[in-house]
Amino acid sequence: MVASLALSCLFCPIPQAQAKKLKEEKPCPHITIKGENIPKFTDTEKRLICGDPKTDDAVGDSWKSIPNSQAKFSLDTFLQSRGYFDAVYEMREDGFSVNVGKPTQVKALVGVGSPPDLELFRKRRVVGEILTPALLDKVEQWTAQRLQGIGYACPEIKSEADPKTGIITVAMVPGEKQIAARVIDESSGGITPGILDRYNAFNFGKLFNGDLLVLSERRILRDGVLQGLHFSNACEKEGVVIKRTGIEGPPRLLTVGFGTNTEGLLLVKASWKNTRIGRRASLIDVTALASSKTQQVNATMNWYNFAHTSRRYIQPSIAFIHANENPYEISEVRTQLHEATSYDSQDIGLTFKAGPTLEFIKTARGNGPKDSHFLSFETDTSLTSHYNEFYFKSPRTGYRVDLTTFFNSDPIYSETTAERINLDWEALWNYRNFDPPLWVLGFRGGLGTVVSGERPGPGTKLPPHFLRYLGGSENLRGFGRQELTDKGSGAMSSVSAGVEWRWVESPLPFDLQPFVFTDLGLLGLNPLDFDSPLYWSPGLGIRWESPVGALRATLAHGYASGQPPEVSHLQFYFSFGEEF
């Protein structure tokens, strides 16, 4: 009875909150500002409202005394810039008090002259926001950016708003859709002109997309080829002519840092790079990375020795690795000589590397040969949709597929035949493609297998880190890192899948984004064969997009079907920089 009453009272009308007490501030003795929230003013603004008592410089006492009417005018202007349009003044002879009222919220966003494919309704955080000139700037800027994203390279945008109705009207003249015609390199110094085309996420002769210019720019800066770079575009008869202006900076970069990775491990890193070797801007990167689990030194060169505009390069590399994981401890020297290339369509980017890999492995703990060597033919293929890459910092859309294979044979300088295949994928769906998103649904999965006549266990010729393990924030968040080893020795196959629903626009404070998820996984003792139990881990988490990267915390319960309850437990993860 009480419960039903309580339940029914969930729908009782909530007593209206009493009117909030007004705050009061006095920027100067004769002016009182009241309001539920009083905006902050800059020093210069305060001088324009209250006058400037300082009289000892070139300006003198010219602004010492501000008449009430002028102070009111200035204050009105400053309030307008903060979204307050209904300030009520009580003027007195010796000053005034003002109730700033409530800021005006935007009620609607209307487009005039908008092409149908712009879909202005997708722009969020406008309706309901406080109407300010800065918001209009943002709306204009977003509209221009979106128009440029769908081919209108040189749009003209003008916005206006009615503070009485709260309606923002964006008038636009998008012009014609344009194609990307050509790039002109300006001040790219010692690099052969056109070299930077290998980073292009767009194709000439195809529809212009401003987002892809930004993406191309980021790629160049991420590799450090140039220290600074800027794309600008002009609409010509032939299409959009893109001007690429770079600042070279010194080519060598020394970096020392510490941080954390997905698994929450403390990392120390030092790297040395030469990002511009020769006129084709080849790259050498020597990186040392250490955590309590793994220490490695990796030297890689991306040697561009083909025709200057080619995306193909030779990548020799050598890595010294020591890994001390729960199931094993190994040391490895890995040398590779790969040929690599990349391809970009208007929608996706593809990188492909292939070549021989020679590994010398020493197993210090765990099953596997004490010393072994493998000569394999390795391929790395990575397919990423442009918008997945574009929103890398704040994932919301697109997909990514990574496939790595090692093919070897024991007669060819290998301990045993152990062909490794690893496939990872991720797909994100932004509900109605809102910007910023309302909620994001993500799917991910992984498949790994080792095709070999060997099986895990004592005496096996397979090094332990060739085997498959599950658990951790990368696949099954209800279990500890590499906790699931399939009877303690590692598995020949693993498959995992996960789904996550993230509420981006939640009512939680500080823009915290809650999410719920479920991960599933299977291990198998034979290649491409999976055994029970089915591991699964439902959970929930919270994400905060801090200025320096995303912080995520998850709490999930790991279950194993048909297994003793001891296997099941709660698992907490806190990660920095990781995304779904």
Binding site: E160, Q227, G228, H230, L267, N302, K393, G577
Partner: protein
């Protein structure tokens, strides 16, 4: 004589006899008619009249008619016509009368003359008159008919018997409206005849007229028409209201007294009132009209109804027009001596303080003109008209002046053939500006800072030649204001004109103002500014109440104010802007023009002056902002700043548009632009910079290329010890980290959350960044097989 001749003579003889007999018969018949006209004009012959009249287009019928024709002597004949139920239908009018009786006597002769008219009795009439387009008169016919009429009726020799007209109803039919009413006009009594007539004319309520009534009284002093005359007309009309227009009322009382029989000399007295609230005119005029002199004495009060226009009071205004010579061209002389008082009504400013101005100001309007006599608009006038204002002297204002006009021309040909040379000398001055500041200090009309600290004099007036035909007046404004740091000397001269446009029926008067404002000597102080984003001084025009915007647009469209204002500084004397951010006053040259249809055109340029930029002594060599003639186009900028270093001189060139200025840097000896930006921002060449500083150089270049750095922001950046500078090409936001002191820094430009950075790289301070790496990225670190992300706090150095 043969038989043929004999037969011919016989025929002639009989023909002559027949002709003689016929003539004799005609003479007998005429004699009978002459002696007894009723033989020809009688009821029977009258009954035949409608048939003949119908043939000539007149449809006249009656129920009963009686006519008498008597012969009083051989030449004088009397006629009476009496009709009952007479109805006439003519082209422009129709009507029926219960009774129409008419008697008159004529004298036969060449021509026939009417010597007695009346009694006339028209009773129970109902007349409809239609408004028709007047036919262009055939001048020959008109002359002929008017001449024969004059010969038929000679009023001075005619004796008029009693007259009685009672129109029960008259109607005047116009295209969209019919006026109707009654009309009575009759001899004052049965015997008065021409001696005394009175009449009343009335209208009934219609869409045009609420009511109208006029009463006439014409009285002969000898009661028989042979003495002098007195006339009195009392008229009053109230027009119907149309929509929200105020009721219009007018009444007048006119007395005319003829001074001598047969002479057109009379005294007159008119009292009139016209009102369409709030407009109202009361006037009393009395005077005389003589053969050689016309005098008028006028008292009048005019309420214009326009809030800003004054009430005009005219008291004891004397006008005297007399014949002074027999000259055909200008025999008359008009003298006017007219004291006028005008209310001073300043524009209605809500909450404005009392300015202690007198309620009214006086003046005297005088004229001495050679004119025609009697006055005629189609003849020449020539002479002077003057208006002298009484001086104004109050604690806040002083003023006075006069207007003198020399006229020459024919009024009817105004303004084409009419010359008016007018000299104006009028001023209103504020002798002590401080008093105005104090007076307005506590009001919403307070003088704003930084002008409110100034003292001095302001004078506004009109001086010079005016063109009254064109409605043009010369105007001027002079300010001589100064404070310890500022000065505001302005000399503006211009012209105000009322230009007639629109149609003849609906004329529109446009106010046309042309002013040339010379900023003779100006020094103005800016408010003390911090090195931060400058505050918005005006509300953003993009956010406006739609109704307000529409109202403003409608008001602008309806406005009849046309203006052409040029604002300029003298050639070698710029205005000076004082700022705490500039070491010396900033010299600014202005040469701009504004019209009601075109926003500002022309240029504003900054002269050479020293400044501190990038922590160095710099010099602004030139800066010109050109405002284009196209309305929505932004201004173009073109400027150069020179920053001197030990080994080279850097010039910063600013060009493009004011909303998207482009910045280019050149140096002597030449350096790459990267190097220039590095030197300017950090004081060192690119090779010596830290990686984050190098990125800042890139960002600065990108932001400049995008025109994302406004001119004010550029100055702020250039004046700030920059630690690093970020630029987001997506949001076009520039952010700068500036060094405030050892170990302290401040982010400018944008909030952290609002700024996207390259991938997931974020600078924290010099050398330090937070970087998030995706393990499978293209950086080459693919040693880890499993994908993953790492976040690092990094120290880095480029070399």
């Amino acid at each position: 004589m043969g038989p043929i001749a004999s037969k011919f003579l016989k025929v002639v003889k009989w023909s002559l006899l027949s002709l003689l007999t016929l003539v004799l018969l005609i003479v007998i018949a005429l004699g009978v008619v002459l002696m007894k006209p009723s033989v020809l004009i009688n009821d029977k012959t009258l009954a035949l009249a409608p048939r003949f009249l119908r043939k000539s287009g007149m449809d006249i019928q009656w129920k009963a008619a009686h006519v008498t024709a008597d012969s009083q002597s051989l030449k004088n004949k009397s006629f009476t016509f009496a009709f009952e139920g007479l109805c006439a239908d003519l082209e422009a009018a129709s009507g029926c009368f219960d009774k129409l009786a008419l008697a008159f006597d004529v004298e036969l002769g060449m021509p026939v003359k009417l010597f007695t008219a009346g009694p006339v009795e028209i009773l129970g009439g109902d007349v409809l008159v239609k408004k028709t387009q007047p036919k262009p008169p055939n001048s020959d016919e008109q002359n002929k008919s008017s001449g024969s009429f004059d010969r038929f009726i000679n009023l001075s020799q005619m004796k008029v018997q009693t007259l009685k007209v009672e129109l029960k109803r008259w109607r005047y039919e116009m295209a969209e409206e019919t006026l109707q009413g009654s009309f009575n006009f009759a001899s004052a009594n049965e015997t008065s005849g021409l001696g005394h007539w009175i009449g009343v004319f009335e209208t009934e309520k219609s869409r045009l007229v609420q009511s109208a009534r006029a009463k006439f009284d014409f009285e002969n002093t000898k009661k028989d028409g042979t003495g002098s005359w007195k006339a009195q007309v009392e008229a009053k009309a109230v027009l119907a209201r149309k929509g929200k227009t105020p009721q219009t009322e007018a009444d007048a009382n006119v007395h005319l007294t003829q001074l001598a029989v047969g002479k057109f000399d009379f005294d007159y007295r008119v009292k009139a009132h016209y009102a369409q609230k709030p407009r109202e005119v009361h006037a009393k005029v009395d005077g005389s009209y003589r053969l050689d002199e016309i005098k008028a004495h006028l008292n009048s009060i005019v309420h214009s109804g326009i809030p800003s226009a004054p009430k005009l009071v005219i008291r004891n205004c004397n006008l005297d027009l007399k014949r002074v010579s027999q000259s055909e061209t200008s025999p008359g002389r008009l003298l006017l001596d007219c004291p006028v008082t005008a209310d001073i009504i300043l524009p209605s400013l809500k909450d404005a303080p009392n300015l202690d101005l007198p309620q009214s100001t006086g003046g005297k309007l005088t004229a001495d003109l050679k004119t025609s006599y009697p006055p005629s608009a189609s003849k020449l006038i020539d002479g002077k008209v003057g208006l002298v204002f009484d001086p104004i002297l109050t604690p806040l204002f002083e003023g006075g002046g006069h207007v003198e006009a020399v006229l020459s021309g024919v009024p009817a040909e105004f303004p084409e053939k009419f010359k008016v040379n007018t000299d104006l000398a009028f001023k209103i001055a504020v002798p002590d500006f401080k008093k105005i500041v104090q007076k307005f200090q506590k009001t919403k009309w307070a003088v704003p800072a930084p002008i409110n600290v100034m003292a001095g004099r302001i004078e506004f007036g009109a001086k010079g030649k005016a063109d009254l035909q064109g409605g043009k007046f010369p105007l001027y404004l002079t300010t001589r204001l100064a404070s310890a740091h500022e000065k505001m000397n302005i000399d503006a001269n211009g012209e105000f004109a009322l230009v007639k446009s629109g149609t003849a029926k609906e004329p529109v008067y446009d106010e046309d103002v042309t002013v040339d404002v010379v900023l003779s000597d100006i020094s103005m102080a800016l408010p003390r500014l911090n090195l931060e984003k400058p505050p918005k001084l005006m509300a953003d025009r993009r956010i406006e109440d739609e109704q307000k915007t529409k109202k403003a647009a409608v008001a602008a469209e309806k406005s009849h104010l046309k203006y052409k204002v040029t604002i300029r500084t003298p050639e070698r004397k710029p205005l000076h802007i004082l700022s705490n951010l500039a070491d010396a006053p900033i010299p600014i040259f202005i040469s701009t023009k504004m019209t009601e249809s075109q926003s500002m055109t022309g240029s504003v340029s900054v002269g050479k002056f020293p400044l501190k930029l990038f922590r160095r002594d710099a010099k602004l060599e030139s800066f010109v902002m050109e405002f284009p003639s196209a309305k929505d186009e932004p201004a173009t900028v073109d400027g150069a700043i020179q920053v001197a270093y030990t080994d080279y001189v850097i010039r910063i060139l600013i060009y493009g548009t004011s909303d998207k200025p482009q910045v280019k840097m050149v140096s002597e000896p030449p350096l790459a632009e990267d190097q220039l930006v590095a030197v300017l921002l950090f004081g060192r060449p690119l090779q010596e910079l830290e990686p984050t500083q190098g990125e800042s150089v890139g960002n600065a270049k990108a932001a400049m290329a995008d025109g994302a750095v406004g001119l004010a922001s550029l100055y702020v950046l250039a004046s700030t010890p920059i630690e690093s500078l970020g630029y987001d090409p997506e949001s076009r936001e520039v952010s700068a980290k500036v060094k405030l002191g050892e170990g302290t820094s401040l982010n400018l430009g944008t909030s952290a959350a609002g700024s996207e950075h390259i991938g997931v790289r974020r600078r924290l301070s010099k050398h330090w960044t937070v970087t998030t790496d995706f393990a499978n990225g293209s950086s080459g670190s693919s040693a880890t097989e499993q994908n993953g992300l790492s976040a690092f706090l990094e120290w880095s150095s480029r070399y």
